[in-house]
């Protein structure tokens, strides 16, 4: 894979223009490595954020913030450390976003005297439509299953949801999930197992 072809042109030109040859090589390698990492992780990270926040634009903002913070704070760290670090940042950002949203909702409710609930926001089916379509029958079945699964994951307690998504969607092992969640490995196992049980109960036997 020619990684340099996928890097932003300005970044490559700027890095290539550095004065020190050794430093330039290191910077280019780091940029390529980070590009590769982010490209690999970005879609799943977006889905994690989208399920947690139930809003496409908020999820995109959170993922971008997490990417930038990783580059700023940990870009020089070995690439094998990036995954748990990135997900730790992402989870913190999601948590901050949810807290801000709750505060905003309370203020709006107090100000208007109404009972506006952001949970009522329904996703736009056109906006969320899949781009790469499988066969129609499979697509229909998968869409129904995914819709039900999305709703069920949304109803999980926050920690169970985190453990489930980090392990199932992102594929982190127990230790990496514990690092990303800032808890013990035992807690991860418990949260994950309970999440699975809860999802099975919610989805029932008729889940396609």
């Amino acid at each position: 894979m020619n990684c340099s072809a996928t890097l932003p042109r300005e970044t490559l030109m700027s890095l290539a223009g550095q004065a020190r040859p050794c430093a330039r090589e290191t910077d280019l390698d780091a940029a390529r490595e980070l590009e590769r990492f982010l490209k690999d992780v970005e879609r799943r990270a977006f889905r994690i954020a989208e399920i947690a926040l139930r809003n496409t634009d908020d999820a995109l903002d959170v993922v971008q913030e997490a990417m930038i913070q990783l580059a700023q704070s940990y870009g020089a760290r070995p690439s094998e450390e990036w995954k748990p670090l990135f997900h730790r940042i992402l989870q913190n950002r999601i948590h901050d976003w949810q807290r801000r949203r709750r505060t905003r909702s309370r203020v709006i409710a107090w100000w208007t005297g109404g009972t506006r609930d952001e949970d009522d926001e329904t996703p736009d089916p056109i906006e969320n439509a899949a781009a790469d379509e499988p066969t129609p029958a499979t697509r229909l079945e998968n869409d129904q299953a995914m819709t039900a699964l999305d709703a069920a994951i949304t109803r999980l307690p926050a920690r169970q949801q985190q453990a489930f998504l980090l392990r199932s969607l992102e594929g982190l092992d127990v230790a990496q999930t514990a690092a990303a969640m800032g808890c013990s490995e035992g807690s991860v196992k418990t949260h994950y197992f309970r999440a699975l049980q809860s999802l099975r109960e919610q989805l029932g036997e008729h889940w396609p």
Partner: protein, 134 residues
């Protein structure tokens, strides 16, 4: 992954595989607008890396600053300690006395003519000190 959960049944494992496949498919099938935004986000992150790379490299990282201060203090302490005369305070006092005598001689009106009065004595004194035989 299933092996790490001791209470998981085969049915749980099948459910887990199904949910994982669905979630991954949903991540792979994002619409064009989202993919485009993610690409832009990635480029913004790489631009941050570029900014960081452009900063001077000789800055002392904050974490090393206390260690640097301690090392500098240790070097100064060793330099001061080794600069002190051997023998401690008594030797310092003796040296000070000798310096005082020298100053007294230099300040007196007696010049080099003093040594010219009895050169044999001084020659003998010099021989005695170096030879040590009396």
């Amino acid at each position: 992954m299933s092996n790490e959960q001791p209470n998981m049944t085969e049915s749980d494992a099948a459910f887990e595989r199904r949910t994982r496949a669905l979630l991954r498919d949903s991540a792979d099938a994002l619409d064009g607008r989202v993919r485009s935004r993610l690409t832009a986000a990635r480029h913004a992150a790489l631009a941050e890396l570029e900014k960081r790379a452009a900063r001077p490299r000789f800055r002392v990282p904050g974490a090393w600053l206390p260690a640097g201060v301690v090392a500098a203090a240790a070097v100064v302490a060793i330099a001061v300690w080794t600069a002190q005369p051997v023998g401690g305070p008594a030797a310092v006092v003796a040296d000070a006395t000798l310096m005082g005598e020298d100053a007294e001689i230099l300040a007196s009106n007696e010049g080099p003519d003093l040594y010219a009065d009895d050169p044999d004595f001084y020659e003998w004194a010099g021989t005695d000190q170096s030879g040590g035989t009396g």
